[in-house]
């Protein structure tokens, strides 16, 4: 599961993504969303 957190009122690619493993945070990405 990954949650993507962003500036709600003005979406501009700022994000904190959180990977969860076994109910705990296993990795945190802070930055801009980069298109695949």
């Amino acid at each position: 599961m990954v949650q993507i957190c962003y500036k709600a009122t003005d979406f501009d690619e700022r994000a904190v993504t959180v990977a969860l493993t076994g109910g705990r945070v296993s990795r945190i990405n802070v930055g801009r969303i980069i298109e695949p």
């Binding site: 962003y6 994000a15 109910g23 945190i28």
Partner: protein, 137 residues
């Protein structure tokens, strides 16, 4: 008939309600801003020289990025694009760490989050839509 005088009741209950309201307000995190995109003194858009000045030489460097203890840094055009925290010695500006329970991530970021699927749907809408992704679950 109450044994508590009305004035005393107000003196006790009013501060209690104000304290509860203040605590509830204090727990509402703000939406992400630029200063939130900072880990261990390194910010998004910092150049590679600034990163070395702040963190020193990386433990290793490969095509995916620079690797420090519990932190990977991905550069794009010579500037920091993503700070990836991989271990508990680093934290977000909001205080989230690897190893924290998932509920803490939700508590810290809940007002401005969407799960990956709803985010994917929102960014794949036709280009006529300019609204922010829905926050409802």
């Amino acid at each position: 008939m109450s044994v508590i005088p009305k004035a005393s009741f107000s003196l006790v209950v009013t501060p209690l309600l104000l304290t509860i309201a203040a605590a509830a307000t204090a727990q509402q995190p703000a939406p992400l801003v630029t200063r939130d995109l900072r880990v261990s003194g390194v910010s998004i858009d910092d150049d590679s020289g600034s990163v070395r000045q702040r963190l020193g030489s990386p433990v290793s460097v490969d095509s995916s990025g620079w690797h420090y203890r519990d932190l990977e840094i991905f550069l794009k055009s010579g500037k920091v694009a993503i700070l990836s925290i991989t271990g508990p010695s680093r934290a977000t500006r909001g205080g989230l760490r690897v190893g924290d329970f998932a509920v803490r991530a939700r508590t810290l970021y809940r007002p401005c989050y969407a799960d990956s699927l709803s985010w994917f749907r929102s960014v794949t809408k036709p280009p006529t839509s300019t609204s922010a992704p829905s926050l409802s679950r």
